[in-house]
Symmetry: C2
Subunit: 362 residues, 2 copies
Amino acid sequence: MTKVCAVIMAGGVGTRFWPRSRERSPKQLLEILGKGTMIQNTVKRLDKFIDPENVFIVTNKIQKGLVAKQLPNVREENIVVEPVGRNTAPCIGLAALHVLRIDPSAVMLVLPADHLIQDVVEFQRVIELAVEIAHGSGNLMTIGIHPTHPETGYGYIQMYNEDGKHNPYFSKGVYKVKTFAEKPNLQVAERFLASGDFLWNSGMFVWRADAILRSIKQCLPDLHSELMKIGTAIGTPQYQSTLEMVYGVIRGISVDYGVMEKSEDVFVIPGQFGWSDIGSWDEVYRIAGKDDRGNSINGRVIHRDTNNSFVYSENRVIATIGVSDLIIVDTGDALLVCKRGRSQDVKEISDYLKRKQMNEYL
Amino acid sequence: MTKVCAVIMAGGVGTRFWPRSRERSPKQLLEILGKGTMIQNTVKRLDKFIDPENVFIVTNKIQKGLVAKQLPNVREENIVVEPVGRNTAPCIGLAALHVLRIDPSAVMLVLPADHLIQDVVEFQRVIELAVEIAHGSGNLMTIGIHPTHPETGYGYIQMYNEDGKHNPYFSKGVYKVKTFAEKPNLQVAERFLASGDFLWNSGMFVWRADAILRSIKQCLPDLHSELMKIGTAIGTPQYQSTLEMVYGVIRGISVDYGVMEKSEDVFVIPGQFGWSDIGSWDEVYRIAGKDDRGNSINGRVIHRDTNNSFVYSENRVIATIGVSDLIIVDTGDALLVCKRGRSQDVKEISDYLKRKQMNEYL
């Protein structure tokens, strides 16, 4: 039977959800929509088809405690801590080393910790198809999302939209990848959308652990040789010092551009399972349930003549009068009042706080 | 020499300044504009011409402690506590009894505790003129304000705008009062403004203590006979119980309509000393200093692309992005976000909190 391990990447700082997201409690560790934190819901979605002991989390020192607390069913030794963030290629390579110790032929399912997936049945179907192909062929599989609008906040995957290009899986709804594209500007995004052969890059991948390490070796040989030092040290008293030494010298690079883009035989499965990376308060508002005035009201809020607004109160009473199209997020020590459509600028607030060394608000 | 006593009425609950104003800390006890609380500034304005030992405060049980703390120079026995609020006529009658104990011919200057006066020199000139006439003649004097716009939030005083009506003080800029008008609707207020003989009723009065008690006797004989019971009890162990007994039976009525409207020989002096009753957050915004984007920023606020807004933070960090024409008032346990021009509706929030018995927020 194919052993499938999930690797959940949970190192993000989530500055776009300030003031709720902080260094110690980034987006993935918050209840953003409904019950359960993002990471709890990410793990819960795997319940039906992945054994809890095969779930790995890659996180950082600051968040480790809260991750462990929120996920009591994840084995402590499966919480892998990176000394510093070096983007996804080193993160995934490190996780692959841990997965290989469980089973040398294991398939890895790589998932961001902070995405929304509304149709779990369809999600499971797509993942199981990807696992089947990845296990049998050693190919690198990625999950794409059919774009619904010319989003400039996502990367894109271009696929060969026909079966001529050595694609034995075409009849199963699996496409060969032509190229990965970085976040486009609006004009380019509109072109992508119109072309019909671009998908959103969801950041979800499926492959055998040995296959991704082999691809890292081909595409990023320096990273691979450093990772091998960690591989040798796993389970020994030298693990921690080796890890820190290696992370001190490797450079940050994403798996998309460092590995996938340069590899042959990369396939993508387009998924339609109500996916969103919920990248901003505007997107939370878009997805959230609303009352008949278009408001998403969370917490103790007294609203008068208030329309199309998102209001979140952690503890305090909020009164709104005569306002429209606002995002109001109120926490213990900080408050955001932002015009709807402007929530991408929330990042500027974090940048400002960092510059001014107002660290207690980061 | 004329003995002048100031009587500062400080019983208001100030629901319009929620969430800053509360039952225990109403508007007059808050720093609303610049340094010093409203009542501290009211007392400070009298520094130059009224002996601190002749300053009286009429307040209620809930506020007494904070009043005494904010005004260390006011004698404790000069802080008069009403058992319940019964509008201005009983309040002023009670104060008159206390003033008479200091000097049977004393002149009383009655002042609300929560008004703004920007030109203190002119204010003093007007008051001294009123004192001079009130002391010599026994007339009831009131201070009016030249209206600058058809305000519907104030009462109005109509004056005889010529000297024919038995007015020996016309040459001094003093007018005989024709009538008092309640808060008008906009149409009526516009008529008042156009007529030229209506002034705003500032709620400031000047009279001899014996004169106002005489007028109360004429106009409100029931109130007067009850007040006499208190007068007999002042300085005896029966004072408190008599006060409570009397306040249990008298009805609430304002001095304007209960006494002034029915009295002969009431005079008004129009003042132009930068007066405002600061009745709402909108008016605070109007008066406050502003930056070049029209913002009045108070406290730790990070503002990006924010215009024509009033932002007040007690303790927390507030970030605003892309908003205009907002009033944001942030306190320890409650937050207001209100469109500019809508701050009169803040009272509805207090009403709601009262109805829902959310007493900790009142």
